[in-house]
């Protein structure tokens, strides 16, 4: 992989909900767990010592079941929620130390957000909703209208400009939410279970739209989801939370091939491994003088199996995006990978 800049850094973040979080923080730091904290001190542990580096221009997925703290975590990035302890750095600047005005500018110009429940203004038309971030920024009306129209077209809502959100289906409402977030040209896009409220086919469509847009926009996207298929499809990096703690971080291959514990293994049990695992994740050191056929490391097992089966010694070389040989995969490795 190429060298990456870190856009958002989360460092030792804690969030405890309750009457006096500061008082119980030392207990948590000494290792008191969520159930005990709730039982003995009546405080809820939201986020527990999370540190995460989020690379620029990539999609970082944060995954966990409900109650795992993922939505709480993403709200710390733009400080909709104040942490109990820890730091959030955006481009090296500590969000927690910002004044009200600085914070407002950060939210206006640098980040935008898409919500699970859309969060659209029901009394404003679709085009006014898409313009919302620009209006807040103080962009003049005709310019805002022009820029909003561009994004309305991009997300496929042309012709619906003068409808109210209440007149649209859930999928279309979320397109409005997405267009509104994109219209401000913010570098960072926070997506809190953005597609979770949509039915599976629409969700797949929205994922496709997002991937298509990301291909040309290269924004830093932080995407929260509870859906593993969605995480694997979108996430270049995936972080998994449980009970507010980060339990594994890595790309899709690492999560599927080397789950950190039974919890994650359980998660990944039901997915179609042949369509997720890519050859580069399986490649082992090249034997000397390998001269068999080579395939692109980005190929999923599902497509690669027949190729491997046809190859001499049932072994293929695996190349990276520059065409360089990074290792080999043989048929037995491939089959084992399917039934881990």
């Amino acid at each position: 992989m190429t060298e990456e800049n870190i856009k958002v850094q989360i460092r030792n973040l804690y969030k405890i909900f309750g009457n006096n979080p500061k008082k119980v923080l030392p207990l948590v730091k000494d290792g008191m767990g969520k159930p005990e904290l709730l039982d003995k001190h009546n405080h809820v542990l939201g986020i527990q010592d999370v540190s995460l580096d989020i690379p620029e221009k990539r999609i970082q997925v944060i995954m966990g079941l409900s109650g795992s703290g993922k939505s709480t975590l993403i709200r710390h990035v733009n400080r909709l929620i104040e942490p109990t302890a820890g730091e959030i750095l955006v481009d090296g600047e500590d969000v927690m130390k910002m004044s009200d005005d600085q914070l407002r500018d950060l939210r206006r110009f640098k980040m935008s957000m898409v919500f699970q429940k859309f969060g659209l203004l029901p009394h404003r038309l679709v085009e006014e909703n898409v313009q919302y971030g620009l209006t807040i920024q103080g962009v003049d009306e005709s310019e805002a209208k022009k820029r909003a129209q561009h994004w309305i077209d991009r997300v496929g809502l042309s012709g619906y400009e003068r409808h109210y959100p209440g007149q649209l289906s859930g999928g279309m409402q979320q397109r409005v939410g997405l267009a509104r977030a994109l219209a401000t040209d913010a570098e960072i896009l926070l997506m809190d279970e953005a597609f979770s409220a949509l039915d599976p086919l629409i969700r797949f469509d929205m994922q496709s739209i997002l991937l298509e847009l990301q291909d040309e926009l290269h924004k830093t996207i932080i995407f929260i989801t509870h859906d593993l298929d969605e995480a694997l499809r979108l996430g270049e990096n995936i972080a998994i939370l449980r009970d507010g703690a980060l339990i594994q971080e890595g790309d899709a291959q690492e999560i599927v091939l080397k789950p950190a514990d039974d919890y994650i293994a359980d998660f990944t049990k039901d997915i179609n491994r042949a369509k997720v695992i890519r050859l580069y994740g399986l490649a082992t050191a090249t034997p000397n003088g390998f001269d068999g056929p080579t395939v692109d490391g980005d190929m999923v097992l599902d497509e690669a199996m027949p190729v491997i089966n046809e190859a001499p010694d049932r072994t293929v070389g695996v190349t990276d995006e520059t065409g360089k040989l990074i290792g080999t995969v043989d048929l037995s490795t491939a089959i084992r990978a399917l039934h881990a």
Partner: protein, 296 residues
């Protein structure tokens, strides 16, 4: 045993001394501030007089046209518009036109005053729980204390006339708009507010761009209630010198004139129904987006 059967109250002498002390102090306060207060309320009086004169001086066909026009603008409903005009024609036919114009004037000014004062107080109340816990009991007192009780200090301070009447009407009529403004803003969807926050909206942008517009249906229900309550004060206000439909009603009560009382009473009811229907349908139209009617 006497201790248990007779409540151990303060002595008669003590109580009367206390009342005299309060009355004396208030009278002194009245003397000291009465003139200043009168000067303070003078612009309001001038406006009220001007508006009443305007209504009285305008030829009746024009008033009918304006009533019809306003009803149409508010309700966009032929039935309500025609009903309003017919009601006013009947009022005129039965000789109550002038009193009705006077009542219309004071109700309109009272409503404007209540809106101008009540909405900002409601907004203030919605922004902090402490404010809410301070203002709510005050509103409770204003709504439940018998009107005659607060008429006493008002008359002592300002004498008899239009302004004390207006103040008495407002004291009684302002609580609903304050309450419903507060409620409307507090009921605004938390998800929408979070979105506004996430896009960096300032408190002012949130208030005028999101909270007030989304609270409008509730605020409008408050305006409607305020008008209704102001109308129900018409008779009591006439006891302290306010002209209008209340005066003949009062006369009817003291002389047992059944027909006079009934006719003027029904005129008040007619006004109430017109105000209510027009403002309610207007309030409903404000929420057109909820049922999803387009705006092309």
């Amino acid at each position: 045993m006497e201790f248990l059967t007779e409540f151990p109250s303060l002595g008669r002498a003590d109580l009367s001394a206390m009342r005299r002390w309060i009355d004396g102090n208030f009278r002194e306060f009245t003397r000291a501030t009465g003139e200043a207060l009168e000067a303070f309320f003078n612009p309001l009086l001038k406006f009220l007089v001007w508006f009443e004169d305007l209504l009285q001086a305008t030829p009746w066909p024009i008033i009918l046209l304006v009533i019809g026009g306003l009803a149409w603008l508010g309700a966009r409903d032929w039935k309500i518009t025609i009903g309003s005009v017919v009601a006013f024609v009947l009022i005129g036919v039965f000789g109550m036109w002038e009193d009705t114009m006077s009542t219309l004037a004071i109700i309109s000014v009272a409503t404007i005053l209540c809106i101008a004062i009540g909405i900002p107080i409601g907004i203030l109340m919605s922004r902090s729980d402490r404010m809410q816990s301070i203002i709510t009991p005050i509103l409770d007192v204003m709504q439940t204390i018998p009107s005659f009780v607060y008429l006493i200090p008002v008359v002592m301070l300002l004498g008899i006339g239009k302004v004390p009447g207006l103040i008495a009407v407002c004291i009684y009529a302002i609580p609903p708009i304050v309450r419903l403004t507060n409620l409307g803003i507090r009921l605004v969807d938390a998800d929408v507010m979070e979105a506004a926050d996430a896009f960096g909206a300032s408190p002012r942008q949130k208030l005028f761009g999101v909270q007030v517009p989304l609270a409008l249906p509730n605020i409008f229900a408050g305006v409607n209630q305020t008008i209704m309550m102001a109308l129900s004060m018409v008779v009591i206000a006439s006891m302290i010198g306010v002209q209008g439909l209340g005066v003949p009603v009062l006369r009817a009560i003291s002389n047992q004139y059944l027909a006079l009382g009934l006719m003027n009473g029904l005129a008040i009811v007619a006004l109430a129904i017109i105000f209510d229907r027009v403002s309610q349908t207007y309030g409903k139209r404000l929420q057109a987006y909820r049922t999803g009617r387009g705006n092309d």
